[in-house]
Subunit: 386 residues, 4 copies
C-alpha cells in the first residue's frame, strides 16, 4: 500500500526532519524512537510501513532540501552521518517538491495545487496521498462570508480577493483532490464550516490541530495528576522561548495569540476551572531549533497549604514533531483505507487543540488511540471501499 | 458506621495533620482539598464519612498533640485559625493516645498493643479500627527465621530477642486484633511471610507501601508520558532535600536505602528498562516539613536528538500525606466491611511501592481505584459478614 | 540626631514592612538582617540610629497601618508576633499619616504637601526629614514644557493642568520643603530637568531609582561574572511573576515598560553589548507579596561551545525592599547632614537604574558605597552647615 | 619568549581542548572567548602570546590526540571544522607526548620525568616550561613521613614504596627540573611540606588548586551577594551530575570527598558561617563532557522572612577549563620570567581552593589578578634573572 505524504511547508525544519528520518528508517540507519505507531497497542498491520511512504510537497522557500538537512545537522537536530548517507534519496524527494503557486485567483491556485497532488498520486501509483500542513503558523484570518458555505466559497475564490488564508487554501485543495488532511499547526487550515462541509462531501478523514510537542504535552499529564489528587491549581504560568522559523513567526502577536489560546485549553478542560496565569511565547533567535519552556504551577493541598512545581523543558521541536508527522500520516492513511471520514477525534493524543470534545488527559487519549488503531483492520480496506 | 483510625506514630507531623484536618472537616471549617475519596468516581456511600472517624494511636513521643499542632501552624503547615478553633476536639483525641509499650518480651508488648486496640474499639463502639503506620522510616531489619512462618514467629516473640522491627510488631498486633492495616511508610510493616500468612488467617485486608506524595507521584505520570511517546529516557537523577523528623531518619543510610529503592521501582517497571542515574535524599533541617525535590531527566527523541526535562517540586509532605491517610482509612474500612481480605492491590494509586504487580502509571492506577471504589457496595456489609 | 522618614505610599507593603521592622528593631525584638548599613564597612557613627527614626507619610489609601501589618503577617511577610507586640508604636505612626491632597491645582496640592512635611519636622523637632517614594509604579508621564525649566514649571502648576505625575509632585514638594529625596520606584520622581534644577537650588541631596531587590540584584553579580571570565552571553531572557499591589500596577503595559527598561540597563552597560532576549513581567494575584523570577542565560565558552544557566528567585519583595528603605533613609540623612547636595551616585548599590554613570557591578558598587559611608564624618555635620 | 606547556594528563578532555584551542587561536581560526588573559586589565605584554606556546605532556593513556579531538568534536565539545583544519599541528603535538614512566622506583620515574621535561625545553629552545596538572582527580594519599621533609622524601623515593601519589611525583619532577607548576585539579600535587620546601629551594613559582569552572564560580559571586546584602543564608545544597572521565573518577567516594571539601570552602570563608546543606557529586555517564549542577539556597531576609534561590548550570567542563589552563600557563610563565617564586596567591581567581588566605569573592579576586598582571613588567625578565 504505497502512500503519499504531501507536506505543506516541505522545506521547513519539521518537514525536513520527517523526510530524513523516514528515509533513514527505510534504509535501516536508525530506529523508530519517538514514533508512537511503532509501539505495541498502536502498531497494526493496517498501517503503511515506513518504506511505503513517498514524499512530496509545496513550499514558498527554494533552498534544496539537502542543504536544509545539512543546516539541521550543523545545528545538532539531525545526525550528520544520516544526512551524508542519503544523498540520492534526498535528491529523489527534491524532484517531488513544488513551488507554492502564486499566480491568478485563489481558485486558479487551488486548481494548480490539485493538479500537483493528482499528478503525484498518479506518477507514483499511490493508493492515496495524505496532505500534512507543517508550514509556519499564520495569524488569524479576516472573516469572510465565503467561510461559512461551500458554494459561496467556491464563488468567492474565483474573484480577486484573498478569501482564504494559505493554510485553508491548501486544505481546500487537499479535500478537492480527495486527500486526507492533517493540520499539525495552529493555523486555520480546515477549520472553516465551508471546508469541513466540503470534506464531508468528498468523504475524506481529517485530523488536527497543532502538534503537541512540549509544554502542552507536559500539561496533559500534569493537569490530570493534580485533578486526580484533588489538589487545587491556583496559578499556572509559563514562558516559551524559541528560535528558528516558527519563533520568528510567533513574534507576531496575532499568530502568538492562536498558539497561546490552544495551549491554555488543556487546563480549563482538564481541571474544570481556569487557574490564574498565562503562557507567553518569546523569540530568541540564538536558541535555533531548540525550545526552552519554563512553567510555574502554584497549588494548594490539604487545609490550603501552598506548594509549587516548576519545570523546564529543553526540547528540539523538529525532533519531537517529525515522528508524530509520520505517525499521523500512517494513521490517517489507514483510516482513509478503512473508509473513515470526517474528523478523526481519536487522534487527540497528538494535538494541543484536538478536534471534537476529546479529553485532554494524555492517558485517556492513549486509550482512545489504541482502540482506534485496533479498529483499523487491514483486511477491511480499499477493496471494500472500491 | 463509626470507624476507628489508629495511627502508629500518632504525634508525628503526618498524623497530627490528618487528625486536625479530619476534625476541621467534621466541624465544617475547611474543605476536602487533597482528599481523593471526595472526588466523583471514588466517592461512594460505602465509605465512612469524615464525621464517622474516631482517632487514637501510639507514639514513643509524649508532646501533646495540641502542642504539635501549634508547632505545625507556626511552620506554615496548618492554618493557625484551625488549630485555635479545635481545642476540645484535640483534647478528646489526646485521651485516646497511648505510649508505645516498652516492657517485656515482644510477645508481651504485642499483647499490650492488642489490648489498646480492642479497648479503643469497644470504648467507642466502633464497627472496626483501621491501623495506619505513619511512624518514621526504619532501617531494613535483620533476617530472622521467625519471619518466614507464623508459628515460628509466635514462638520467637516469646523469647528475649527483638525478632520484629517496630513497624512489624504493630502490624502483627493489628492483625491479631482483627484490624485492617495500612502501611504508609517504606518500613517493613506487614511485609514478612509470617505476617501476611497471619493476616490471611484473620481475614483482614491490608494496603501499602510508602505513600506517594512528591517526586514519585511525578514519576508516575512523567515516566508513562515518555513511554507513550516512545521517547528513550537516558538518565533520571534526583535529589530530595527534606527536613523534619523523616529527614533526620533518612539521614541514616540504611533507612535511606529502603526509600530510594522504592522510588526507583516506578521507572524500571514503567519504561521496561532502567535509565542511568539515581535518587538521593539529603537532610536539611531548616526546610522543616517542606521538601524540595529536583529531578533531571535526559532523553532522546527521533534520530537520537538529546533533550532534557528538569523539575523542582516544593511540597509540604504532611499536607500531601494527611488527606491520603484519611482516604486509605476510609477505603480500607469499606473494604473490610465488604468482606475483602488480603492485599488491596487496587490501592496502588496511593503508594510508591505498591503491593502486587500493579501498574505504576497513575492514570491506570486511577482507573483501578475507581473500579475498586465502585465495587464496594454499601449494602453488602457487616450484616452479610456477621 | 532625630530624623524623619516620610514615606510616599505609606500604607503600602514596603512602607508597612519598613515601619514595623524599624519599630521592632528599636524595641529589640528582631535583628538587622537585610540592613546593609549595619554591616562593617558601611556602618558609621554619622548615620542616625534606628531609634532616631520617626515615621510619617502620605497615602491615597486609608486602611489603618495596623490592619495592613496584620494582613502582611497573614501572608507570611511579617511575623505575627512582631505585629502583635507593637500596637502602641503603630498607633503613634498612624497619627503621622496624612491623606494625599486631592483638591485644587497642583500648586495648591504641592503647598499642602510642603505644609505636612514642615509641620512634621517641627512637631517632632527633627534635624531633617528624608522623603522616600515607595508608592506603586506609575506609567511614563506625558511630556510638558514645564518639565524642562523650574520657573516654567512653577507657572504651569498654578494652572488647571496635571503637569506633573504624582511621584514628581511629591518630589517637587520634598525639594521645596528642603527635604532630601529618595526614589525607590521606577516612576519619574525627580527625573525632570526642572526638578533637579530646583533640588540644586535648594541644596538637597537625592538618590534613586528603583530599588534593586531581586532579578536585577542577581544580574549585577552574574553579568560581571560572565564578563570577568570572558564568556559571551548570547541571550538573557526572564519572566517575573508577581502579585500584590505592584503586580497589578505593572500589568499596565506602560508602567511595565518603565520597569523592564531599567532591568535591561545593567546587561548592556556591564557586558558592553546587549544579548538577545528580554525580561517580561506578569501579574499573578495569587503570589501575593512574593515574586518568582526565572531567567535563562545562554552563553558561549571557548571555541563557541554553547552552555546555559537558569535561575529561579523566590523572593518577598517587601522583605527585601524594607531594610533598603531604612538604609537609604539613614545614608541620605547623613549625607544631608554632611552638606552633600545633588545626586548621590555612590548609592548605586541600592538601585536597578542608578543615577549617574555608576557601574552596574555589585562589587564595584559596594566599594563605592563603603567609601561614601566612610566619608560621612559624624563630626562634620549640621553645626558646620548651620 | 617561546614557552613550553607540559600537560600532565595530556590526552584527557581538558588537555586536548586546551591544545586544539591554542592551535586554532594561533591559526586565526577562532577567537579567545573564555580566555581571561585577553581581557583589558589582565592582558599584558609580559605574557607569552598564544603563538609562543609549545605543547607537550605525559599520559597513561595512548589514544592519539587527534582521535581524542575527533571524539570531542562528536560530543559537541569542539567544533569539527577546527579539528579537521589542524591535522599537522596535532601531529606535531603528538610527537611531544610521552608515556607516563612506570618502571623502577619512584626516584627512577621522577628522573625519567625530569629528563623528558629537560629534553623538551632544550629541543624547542624554550625560555621555560610550565607544568600543568590536568589529570583525573586522585584519592587523598596515605600519609608518609617523607611528605614532611625534602631530604627524607628524597631518601624514601629511592626505596620500593609508593611514597608520593602520582600528582605529587609530577610536581616533584617539575620542581626538580626548575619548572613552574600549576595544579588545576583537587589532587595533592605540590601540597606537601616537602614539596613546597623544594619549590622554594629551586625558586619556582606555583599555583593551584582545582580550577573553578562551574558551581563554585557561581558561589564566588552569589555568596558575596548575600553577604553584601546582609541576608542570612540558611542552607546551600547542591547536586553535581557529570559524565566523562572525571565523573567516573569522582564516583570513587575518596576522590569525591576532596572535591566536595574544596567546593564548600568558599561558603564558610565568604559568609563567616557555614550554612546547612552540602554538595553532592553524581556520575551519569550519558552526560559526557557536560555537567549539570543544581543548587538550592534558602535564605532569610528582614524580620526572618524565608526566601530561596535555585540555579541550574549546564556547562561543558572542558570548554570552561581549557582557556583557564592557557591563562594560567601564560601568567605563571610571566611570573617566572619576572623572578617570582613561591605560591602565586594572586591567581585565586582561577581556583576553587586557592593557595593562601585569599578572598573567595570573585570580584576581589579579579582586583588582585589585575594588580598582579599589571606588576609583571615585560622588561623586567630573564635578562635580569640571568
Amino acid at each position: 500500500m504505497r502512500t503519499g505524504v504531501w507536506l505543506v511547508g516541505a522545506r521547513g525544519s519539521v518537514a525536513t526532519t520527517s523526510i530524513v528520518g523516514a528515509l533513514a528508517l527505510r534504509a535501516g540507519l536508525t530506529g523508530p524512537t519517538g514514533c508512537v505507531t511503532e509501539l505495541p497497542g498502536v502498531n497494526s498491520p493496517a498501517l503503511p510501513g515506513f518504506a511505503d511512504l513517498v514524499f512530496g510537497g509545496h513550499d514558498v522557500a527554494v533552498t534544496p532540501i539537502a542543504k536544509r538537512a545539512e543546516a539541521l545537522a550543523d545545528a545538532g537536530v539531525l545526525p550528520a552521518r544520516l544526512v551524508a548517507a542519503l544523498p540520492e534519496e534526498l535528491s529523489a524527494v527534491e524532484r517531488e517538491l513544488r513551488p507554492a503557486p502564486t499566480a491568478g485567483t485563489q481558485a486558479d491556485r487551488a486548481a494548480a495545487l490539485v493538479r500537483d497532488l493528482t499528478a503525484f498520486r498518479q506518477r507514483h501509483e499511490l493508493a492515496r496521498v495524505v496532505v500534512v500542513n507543517v508550514a509556519a503558523t499564520e495569524p488569524a484570518p479576516r472573516p469572510h462570508p465565503g467561510h461559512a458555505d461551500a458554494d459561496a466559497l467556491r464563488a468567492a475564490l474565483a474573484g480577486p480577493d484573498e478569501v482564504l488564508p494559505p493554510s485553508s487554501l491548501y486544505a481546500y485543495a487537499a479535500v478537492a483532490a480527495d486527500c486526507p488532511y492533517v493540520d499539525f499547526t495552529p493555523s486555520t487550515g480546515l477549520r472553516l464550516p465551508a471546508l469541513t462541509a466540503l470534506a464531508d462531501r468528498h468523504g475524506v478523514p481529517y485530523a488536527g490541530h497543532d502538534g503537541k510537542t512540549g509544554e502542552t504535552l507536559l500539561k496533559s499529564v500534569l493537569a490530570p495528576m493534580f485533578a486526580m489528587r484533588h489538589l487545587t491549581v491556583r496559578s499556572w504560568s509559563g514562558l516559551n522561548l524559541l528560535g528558528g522559523g516558527d519563533g520568528a513567526t510567533l513574534a507576531d502577536p496575532d499568530a502568538n495569540a492562536a498558539k497561546v489560546r490552544s495551549k491554555q485549553r488543556v487546563l480549563g478542560e482538564t481541571l474544570g476551572y481556569l487557574p490564574q496565569g498565562d503562557t507567553r511565547i518569546g523569540y530568541v533567535e540564538e536558541l535555533g531549533d531548540f525550545k526552552t519552556a519554563w512553567d510555574l504551577i502554584t497549588f494548594a493541598g490539604f487545609l490550603g497549604t501552598g506548594m509549587r512545581l516548576e519545570f523546564t523543558w529543553h526540547g528540539c521541536d523538529s525532533a519531537l514533531a517529525a515522528p508524530l508527522v509520520l505517525d499521523l500520516a500512517r494513521l490517517t492513511a489507514a483510516a482513509h483505507a478503512a473508509g473513515r471520514t470526517g474528523p478523526l477525534t481519536d487522534l487527540a493524543f497528538f494535538f494541543k487543540d484536538p478536534l471534537g470534545t476529546a479529553t485532554h488527559s494524555l492517558a485517556d487519549q492513549w486509550t482512545r488511540l489504541c482502540a482506534f488503531a485496533g479498529s483499523l483492520d487491514a483486511g477491511d480496506t480499499d477493496a471494500t471501499r472500491g
